[in-house]
Symmetry: D2
């Protein structure tokens, strides 16, 4: 719940064959809002033409009856995006829609292309012009320039040139095409509602529109929805890729707790991490409290494992606006207090274990610890349900630079001193893997280990 | 958290003697936002003149640097208001500020005057004109027409004419005056921050600005803050009033869980109600889940008492906007799903106890029960941590009419059938009183009993 | 056209007995927009209830389908207001609507009550409270407190207490009542469209809605439109008033040139003033140019009289917005240039007579003269089609204080030097009266003479 | 002034070497607002990077302190655009800015490329993607794909591939480049303010910022402003072009009357056309009145030539908003009356000559004639200061299709009957050429003759 978290970059949703395609895409985006709050957009197809509306803001701000009504047709893709920088940020909103030789094409992308700059340079040498700063734009150029026959082969060809993380939804006048990179870094699920197929970043988007979860879109899979129905094939570039590198941080923090991603429910995974954390870092205390809402599942797990009572020691405000007038007079823990109020009644004189999911810079944790102590707690022990974060992510997550990651250059004891906790315990890397169970080998742990999958 | 709740009518805050009076009032209103989301306003005084800004909307929408800066001076009162009706609703925003013989006066009011219509008629016969439909306006007329000397006696005189619930904050060019009705129906607390006095509906407003809680403003008390400092007196009308009638629903639902009102913390009171509920209505089940966030404290209490495991079976969305485009195609439990998503993973095949704080119309509860069952639960038992609501409130709460209160004309078994739960248990009236402890006699239970204090 | 003009305070319109009363009031206000640009409002009656919408801004900003639709009924009054000051300016928007003993009443007022402060003091002593700073509010209090029978007699009674200028339109659940003060200071005309009566400040409001002009509402007349039809009576306070004091400045500048006010067309009157000006202040020159649009009629008259060719030497921009980003670098005559561009082609080397209607502070005239000279004019002669303004107006016009009126403390030669014209000629007071013809005695010339009618 | 006119498509301005480049571009656009009201935009360069802000709306709506401040640097280009169609119209706002191999480039375009569709097809075959529907986008692709060295040669190369009308302003990190097509169809002028060069569609943009007019940018000229100062060269494609085809309609209607375009002042040219019209189509009448403001110069000319008195018989409203609530009840000449009110006083019983600049569909003229007659005129004679429009324009003007041009398929007598005038006179084509004087051969008269220059 605190600001000191990694931020996801995007959420995507596709609706195939429904009379209210744009409306369902809108609901899907609403359910995926936690994956990106800066811009939102939908592109629909009526069989002959694409219709698009993108704007900066939350889904509920961007779309209204008036902006949804023109998005005609039975197919639609949608996108929410986390904040970016640049002078002309609306241009970075997605779906990104262009015209090329064979007609119109729109794309919504979750992930990050690691060789985008190099491809861009090559394309520009060949006369390409770029309108956005998004890596997504290179996909469209590669497709437009592909000599292969038909949009499906062109997309497959384009994927052969890129490395990195990509869950993609393409829309043309007559088809929707879903693609997941060979390593399966970002999640993508397939669902069905009557005769309608739904593709989305997380299952919470399926739940809201009553679609049933079928399966994950597989790493390296391309699913084509067109007049011939649904057809799956494997990307050429994926032919020789045998391992996957699913982002473990989706389970640590990104995914909505009620979602199933990578085949597991995130709340349950977090609870497991909390239990494992309890077994690794027990401390004699009077109560376990979560940093709401992000720390709740792990705190429950920690309490179960340690048998220390679970309490709500911090109450979260529901009305945190996006801007705030700060008083000149310094108020203790001001920024944190707008969101969280400590329950003096419970905390006074107590030995408290505070549980959160992860720690990035440490500044907010320091304020929370101080606030709890100020509310009367005798001891404050911080427990984190993931290992120290030592390396940035290059696969679609907006992480700080290495030097801003407190665990990159500080020992656990240094960090404990910085945040002024009585004790500090991180879930171990092995402990995290243990929570992942049989699938432990299918995940990417690079932010915790510095070992990148490629 | 569901819409099927009573709605509070207002929250108020006053800041006495601070160089950033309006800024602190703004923060106080922010902390009291749950008490009223329709309009917000602040009136400040610089010793010579009053400055006011009122508008429709949330505190964070109504106020900006630009609208706060003109609110000069060291004294300020603020107000948030829940929705009202009428053609010219901005006129009903508070603080309500007028000029009368002795200068300017502003007022912020939480409560409801039960004899307002009659007083109004008398005043109009005497030539008074009214600009709003608020009962608050009669106070100002009574003050302006009082023949007593000085504003303090005029206010005391005005209070002698009115019956009902009123926590009032008045501001003049040189003073702030806090008044609480003789029965103490609505809460009002006094705090201090250095040399600054703070008066507010709940302690959460004190917490955010680092003020210390001193005590309640007493029922029938009038506190005058002016150049002579702080002086307390008893309202003339309160002279012969010996009992109080504090609103027990503040503890059931209204007050923020982290607030202290009527001398107790609301989270703790709700937890107690949950425990009592557990002792009254045990059922053999696999898990206890709250309707978040309103049912969390009681669910924790219920789980402690019954030893049934506490789980989060419903996940709340953080991004519920104020308007929403509904698809034409019927989606099951659509309205509820925008806010709550059931955790199929946990619920499937389970016997579930769902705990909420209260039940008004029953329509939302019916959708929640159905949604949980649809998610796979084998049994769904609803438990409510307050007694059946059978009578409307006339003291400042926006309640439906009698016929809309499902418990007014239906037995518990009828209601159980309506919401289609496997069992339904309400906290008993005696159980509720037991939770209130030694103070049980000081509360108003009229909405549960139909016995009004006057 | 320049900013250096007097500003009117208000325009009013009333529609009696039409199925689209509010829509017609809206069109009437649109035609009267030049009389007030700060706020606009309409109050309608459906026979049982009043409906109101007021807001800050231009008529086309304030009203939309959504804000007009709720203004039901067959009767409506409307108001446009020129800028006022104060912290809560929306409260000063009209129609001003209140409830009193006999029901609801709304009022729209053009003019100014000269004894408002004194009446207000008396009312406040008697317990009245005021919500606005408008003098209009005292009318409503006087009506509410009148002991006379029925609204018509109450209004008549209220008028007996006030002095000053007032054209008033009242609306109740069942009637519209038009009142013009005994001196007839501000204009008010009566028109008819089928069975619908229309009352408005100027005939341009009648023209737009196809109503025919019938006559002026007479000075001291009260016209009641109710279920008995239209009835006229004379105000009691007007019984002994024999002279009138119609504002000559309506013909000099305020009224739209296409309007008939006080029985004459303003364009024609201005042209006559220009001719008279030509006969009084001839100068040998190459061309006569107006300051558009305010100086056009007088410039045409001047050209006719002097036989000097009429040219458009200044072109007016159509897109002057309300706010403007000024460059830091000083651009010559910047503010004036946004509105007016000199035609170098015509002006270069020429002896130019510039005609405007009046001169208040002289600052804009100075910039215009300088701009014309800078465009190459060899000589610049300024001619003003009204006499020097030496005294402020107390009858509803927003005039600067005496010391800001350049002609109050400066000779014509001083002013000529200040604005750096080669010569300067004002229409004489006798000349102005001559233009008014047989009605010359019915006008107020106080701003030119300092002789106030009462 | 009526809506029944051709509409220009764009206005452009460039500022070279000024510390407030974006602010001056903003003022220039403000002066050119009449050339396009749908969108506005500015792109500036600080020597290293381009900064852009585009939005739908008027210049004063699009730009504020907040949106101008980020447009850093000493160079800037700006653009105003008349309405276009399409689902994603913001994408069609200019300047259009992209990145290509050599860096960033922005372009502002006034005109129309006649072979855009064909070029586009070729480019798409080669893998190009398009984001807008603007013909302007092809320029940027041609530049990015040019094999020539340096941006100047690339632009020259790109121009070799296109036919049509184009005044272009390019901006790169270090230069501004102005280009005018070989036929000089649209106007473009060069001015200077101290060390700052200014390029703009019309001189009114120079006037507002105090820049001096130097000369036209010549047909076929490319002016490069970079670190080497200002350098002019002739486009390769212009090498063999000897004639020009300047748009005569700029003088008929488009250009602001105070502007100099194609070396002449438009007001003066229009006055000449009015005089010529008078000599061709005299009628015995009591007065000549213009349709304000478009018909004023020609009406003055007509009055001079015919010695019939010039009068203002129609008064224009200053407050025409963009949307308007129309009453259900039919009001005569409603749409026209919002803008123009006839002066019954002058028109009653008179024989009136009404002068406007041109006639496109005839519908508005019909309403004006009817309105004047309804105001009492005995005879209404319409005179148009340009020849019948028989052919659409393909060079950047938004003209109706052939069938909507009333003069395309109707005789003058037919048109006279349609608009119900007593007589109708158009300026002859020879008369128009005569007004153009020695330069008559340099203009395009295609809309009057159907003879296109290429």
């Amino acid at each position: 719940m605190t600001n000191d978290h990694f931020h996801d970059e995007c959420g995507i949703v596709g609706i195939v064959n429904h009379t209210e395609a744009a409306n369902l895409a809108y609901l899907g985006l609403f359910a995926l809002q936690h994956r990106g709050q800066e811009s939102a957009g939908i592109c629909s197809s009526d069989g002959e033409q694409l219709w698009t509306h993108n704007a900066m803001g939350l889904v509920s701000d961007v779309f209204s009856e008036a902006t949804l009504a023109p998005l005609r047709g039975t197919h639609a893709i949608g996108h929410v995006r986390y904040s970016t920088t640049g002078s002309s940020i609306l241009k970075n909103a997605q779906p990104f829609v262009v015209r090329y030789m064979n007609g119109s094409i729109g794309v919504a992308h979750n992930g990050n292309i690691t060789n985008a700059a190099k491809i861009r340079e090559t394309l520009e040498k060949d006369g390409a012009i770029f309108q956005s700063t998004m890596d997504t734009e290179v996909f469209v150029h590669l497709i437009a320039r592909s000599k292969k026959d038909g949009i499906v082969n062109k997309i497959d060809d384009a994927c052969s040139h890129v490395t990195g993380a990509y869950c993609l939804l393409f829309i043309t006048e007559t088809s929707i095409i879903a693609v997941r990179d060979p390593y399966g870094i970002r999640p993508l699920v397939l669902g069905k509602l009557g005769n309608t197929y739904v593709v989305a970043s997380e299952t919470c988007a399926l739940d809201l529109i009553d679609a049933n979860y079928i399966r994950e879109v597989e790493p390296g899979e391309m699913i084509v929805f067109d007049r011939d129905g649904m057809n799956s094939r494997r990307l050429t570039v994926a032919k020789n890729v045998t391992k996957t590198a699913k982002c473990v941080f989706e389970h640590v923090y990104f995914a909505r707790p009620d979602s199933v991603v990578f085949g597991n429910n995130s709340f349950e995974m977090r609870k497991r991490m909390g239990m494992q954390l309890g077994s690794e870092h027990y401390v004699d205390a009077d109560m376990v409290i979560p940093v709401p809402d992000s720390g709740i599942p792990a705190a429950i797990g920690y309490a179960i494992e340690t048998k220390i009572p679970f309490e709500f020691g911090l109450i979260r405000s529901h009305y945190v606006g996006r801007t705030f007038i700060e008083p000149k007079q310094s108020i203790r823990h001001f920024g944190v207090k707008l969101k969280l109020n400590p329950m003096k009644h419970y905390l006074d004189g107590k030995r408290v274990v505070v549980v959160d999911d992860s720690l990035v810079r440490g500044t907010t944790a320091m304020k929370i610890v101080s606030m709890i102590r100020h509310a009367g707690a005798k001891e404050v022990h911080l427990r984190l349900a993931s290992p120290p974060i030592i390396s940035p992510c290059f696969y679609g997550i907006d992480t700080p630079t290495k030097t801003e990651l407190i665990a990159n250059s500080n020992t656990v004891e240094d960090i404990r001193k910085f945040i002024a906790a009585d004790s500090l315990g991180y879930l171990s890397r092995d402990g995290l893997k243990k929570c992942m169970g049989d699938n432990a080998g299918s995940f990417c742990y690079a932010c915790f280990s510095g070992e990148y999958p490629f």
